[in-house]
């Protein structure tokens, strides 16, 4: 496959190693991760492809694709990896890197979920599902998905309607700000 001419070693692999302590060069492309990956039939890049592209420093292909965002972090790959490469943690680091550098972003629905989820925690210290779901719908555009489930869920006493902040919400906001500062930008997927 044609790509940018490679003139130096992958700095991406070094960056991943710095962040995670895991060495992407350990991947010998056996494909056991992809064989067990529950999302393998839905993603274009499978775990072993992702590791290969990290080794080759192909940020362009990694971040232009939805695949890293579709990882469920079920850890099956890491649990079975014969060479202890740890694909799940590496994919997390790639997502973090994509957001920090602005080179990639999750698909709208997943982005909406993370945004409304984190916003809830920042605002209240906990998740209040009603507010979270409302926020998700606004951000994702999936306005009518699961609407039919709402009355049944409420009937079962399963949706708390009124959010209540925890006492230490100031604490939580400070933690968000500190982690955002460490990442070089606001934590916003």
């Amino acid at each position: 496959m044609a790509g940018p001419a490679s003139t130096r070693r992958s700095t991406l692999a070094a960056e991943i190693r710095r962040r995670t302590g895991l060495n992407p060069a350990k991947c010998y492309q056996c494909g056991k991760c992809s064989a067990g990956c529950p999302m393998a039939e839905e993603t274009r890049l499978r775990p072993h492809d992702i590791l290969r592209l990290v080794q080759r420093g192909r940020r362009d292909r990694l971040f232009a694709d939805d695949s890293i965002w579709l990882c469920l972090t079920c850890e099956t790959c890491s649990a079975r990896c014969p060479n202890e490469v740890g694909p799940a943690r590496i994919i997390d680091a790639l997502r973090e890197l994509a957001l920090e550098s602005g080179e990639g972003a999750p698909p709208r629905a997943i982005r909406a979920l993370h945004e409304s989820f984190l916003k809830q925690i920042r605002r209240h210290g906990r998740i209040f599902e009603f507010g979270m779901i409302a926020g998700f719908k606004l951000r994702s555009g999936k306005l009518f998905a699961d609407v039919g489930k709402m009355p049944a869920t409420m009937k079962r006493g399963k949706l708390a309607l009124s959010p209540r902040n925890i006492a230490g919400v100031g604490d939580v906001r400070r933690i968000f700000d500190a982690c955002a500062a460490a990442a070089g930008k606001e934590v916003r997927p």
Partner: protein, 672 residues
């Protein structure tokens, strides 16, 4: 010593680049006691050595310093040259100005100055050298071979055919090892039994081979040329001299459901048994764990159970003798050929740091077997007489999936090395299967195909191109039993697709491991082993069949994963080393050994406690009337390896290491 010659080598560019050899020679020439100093491009070459011999003769030199490379490299060369010139070889020393100087420095003047310092220090040491004579040790020209697999058989036959006696010790009831369990062998598909059993018989009938089967090495003492080995002869429960191998006892034994080790658990055997019909020796053993009578005897029951074999034995050979016996053999060399065991995917080996494969069901899925079990299924001598039937229901498998690298190349499970033989035997298995089941499907999951041997690559290609084996590049994530089939969940990394196959039988090419208990044996022999229990060779390239203990050699899969050709080659190499050692009645050794000054030794025996080689003994000093005056330490010059630990430990400075005495070392240091 007043007429020392200093010979400075350029080592081509190696030294010349950073050290001015001519300047080193000039400076050395001015040292007191140095009568001659010269530099030359390649001192180790023939003209270089001639230079030394000529100078010794012409300048009447009485000592030689060669300033060149490490003594590891060429000390022997230059000592030989010195001896050739008529000077005691131990009056030749090397000043290492290559590894210790030119290779590690860049500044030429500073490196040259350092080279002069090193040379001066060695000159001062040499002034205190004493002429030494090589140690002569008588050699017991008999060999011990441990392990009766193909490597041990080959080594024993080669040594015996070379005219020397061999004691062959085998742990199991029969020799033959793993090779006797194989059906056909790669890359020729010749029948394993057909090529092996004649060799086994040859061992048995050889006038110079003493076969001690069902025996283990208990203790080893001594040193090269003079080992004393105590061997445990495990109780067979019968008199070997009376048994004629008729097999009546086996047929009469009511215990018939014991899983057969020879058939890798797929077949059954009796409690009194010969592991397989072609066993050598063809003498049964009684399995104490399963024999009803033996168990009764051990428990001390008054009434003896069973006794069927006793009744049918026409020779009165059966004794139920419980006692192991011990024999002692004197040998001059040992060949270790203990072979391997296969990795098991269950949780039984966690103590060894091996985790087993939960994702492959920890060995609980009945139709998931290992390579050796497949050999037994495919073998004409196997439990199914060579008919391919899977263990669960005896059905002929229509689809077999082979998994390579199970346990091997899998640090997460505890083993990082490649087992080397699996690529080849898996290709062979696919052929054997396709030759028996023409419309069957043989699928191989592999990571790489490593077929580096004569005819090996061609063999694998034949499996794929002619015999229709389907090769899929990828490791399998999970094996699951789903009703009648084993579901194999894999990924084809070449086409980029998940692959799921419902297999009737799955064969795991599991890793080769060292034998259980090898560490204990290695400790008895004082040979080193790696963290996986494989015996270390003395040098990975130049001394592949020697160990770090003189007189002990290694052959076959106990050193690293090996196939049959490799094992046999190693065994013959070890045998030729043994025969070389036995070519003289006496052995010459370097006299760099410790010496105790008996006059000053206080008998504290710190040296005895620290000696790693068991070379220090207690010696009684008596007067003329035989009264004990004192007990002192004494060094066995045959055993001592010259490590110097005793010298460093002795509080009374009563131990000296020849060639490295305190005065020599102090002089060398003071010269800096």
């Amino acid at each position: 010593m007043s007429r020392i010659g200093v010979f400075v080598c350029h080592c081509g560019e190696n030294l010349g680049r950073t050290v001015d050899a001519a300047e080193v020679a000039r400076a050395s020439g001015t040292l007191p006691g140095v009568a001659h100093a010269i530099d030359y491009k390649y001192m180790c070459s023939d003209p270089g050595q001639a230079l030394i011999k000529q100078a010794v003769a012409e300048k009447k030199l009485d000592g030689v310093v060669v300033a060149a490379c490490s003594p590891h490299m060429h000390e022997k060369t230059f000592r030989r040259a010195t001896a050739g010139a008529g000077v005691n070889p131990f009056l030749c020393e090397m000043a290492n100005i290559r590894e210790h100087c030119s290779w590690i420095h860049e500044n030429r003047p500073a490196a040259t100055a350092k080279a002069i310092d090193i040379t001066r220090s060695i000159v001062e040491k040499l002034k205190r050298n004493a002429p030494l004579e090589p140690i002569r040790i008588p050699v017991e020209r008999r060999a011990l071979v441990i392990g009766g697999g193909i490597a041990g058989i080959q080594a024993a036959l080669d040594i015996a055919d070379g005219g020397r006696e061999v004691v062959l010790v085998e742990k199991g009831p029969s020799i033959g090892g793993h090779m006797s369990q194989l059906s056909e062998t790669f890359p020729t598909l010749d029948c394993s039994q057909c090529i092996l059993t004649p060799r086994m018989v040859e061992v048995y009938q050889h006038p110079r081979i003493k076969l001690l089967a069902y025996s283990e090495v208990e203790a080893v003492e001594g040193y090269i040329g003079n080992f004393t080995v105590k061997i445990r002869r495990k109780a067979r429960g019968l008199d070997e001299t009376k048994c004629n191998g008729c097999g009546q006892c086996q047929a009469s034994c009511p215990q018939k459901k014991i899983p057969s080790e020879f058939d890798a658990g797929l077949g059954k055997r009796s409690a009194i048994y010969v592991p397989f019909p072609q066993a050598v020796p063809n003498i049964p053993v009684i399995d104490a764990r399963h024999c009803a009578r033996w168990k009764g005897i051990v428990k001390g029951l008054k009434k003896l159970a069973c006794g069927k074999c006793l009744e049918v034995c026409g020779r009165g050979a059966i004794t139920f003798d419980l006692e192991d016996k011990f024999v002692t053999e004197k040998v001059g060399a040992v060949v270790v050929a203990t072979g391997f065991q296969l990795y098991e995917i269950g949780r039984d080996h966690e103590a060894d740091g091996l985790k087993g494969y939960g994702e492959y069901g920890y060995g609980k899925i009945p139709d998931v077997i290992d390579g050796l079990q497949f050999e037994r299924l495919a073998s004409a001598s196997g439990p199914t007489a060579g008919k391919l039937q899977r263990p669960s229901d005896g059905k002929e498998p229509r689809t077999i999936v082979f998994l390579q690298c199970v346990g091997s190349r899998d640090p997460a499970k505890g083993i990082e090395y490649c087992s080397k033989i699996c690529c080849m035997y898996v290709a062979k298995h696919t052929m054997l299967y396709r030759h028996k089941v023409h419309d069957g499907r043989a699928v191989v999951f592999y990571m790489d195909v490593r077929a580096g041997g004569k005819g090996y690559e061609e063999f694998v290609r034949r499996a794929i191109e002619e015999d229709g084996a389907e090769y899929i590049r990828g490791r399998v994530s999970r094996l699951e039993r789903d009703g009648d089939v084993v579901r194999v969940q894999g990924f084809d990394t070449l086409s980029g697709e998940p692959v799921t196959i419902d297999a009737d039988l799955v064969v795991l090419a599991t890793a080769m491991r060292s034998q259980p208990g090898i560490e204990t044996l290695a400790q008895k022999l004082s040979v080193s082993y790696d963290r996986h229990g494989f015996i270390n060779e003395a040098h990975p390239k130049l001394r592949p069949v020697e160990t770090n203990t003189a007189g002990i050699f290694v052959a076959g899969a106990c050193q690293a994963p090996r196939d049959i050709p490799d094992s046999v080659a190693m065994a013959s190499a070890a045998a030729s080393k043994v025969l070389g050692l036995f070519s003289n009645a006496e052995l010459e050794r370097e006299p760099i050994v410790a010496r105790v000054d008996e006059a000053t030794c206080a008998g504290c025996f710190h040296c005895l406690r620290v000696c790693a080689y068991g070379a220090v003994e207690r010696k009684e000093i008596r007067d003329k009337k035989g009264n004990l005056i004192k007990v002192v330490a004494s060094v066995n010059r045959g055993v001592c390896q010259g490590c110097g630990t005793c010298q460093a430990t002795c509080p009374g400075k009563s131990v000296e290491l020849e060639g490295f005495t305190d005065p020599q070392i102090y002089a060398a240091i003071n010269a800096f």
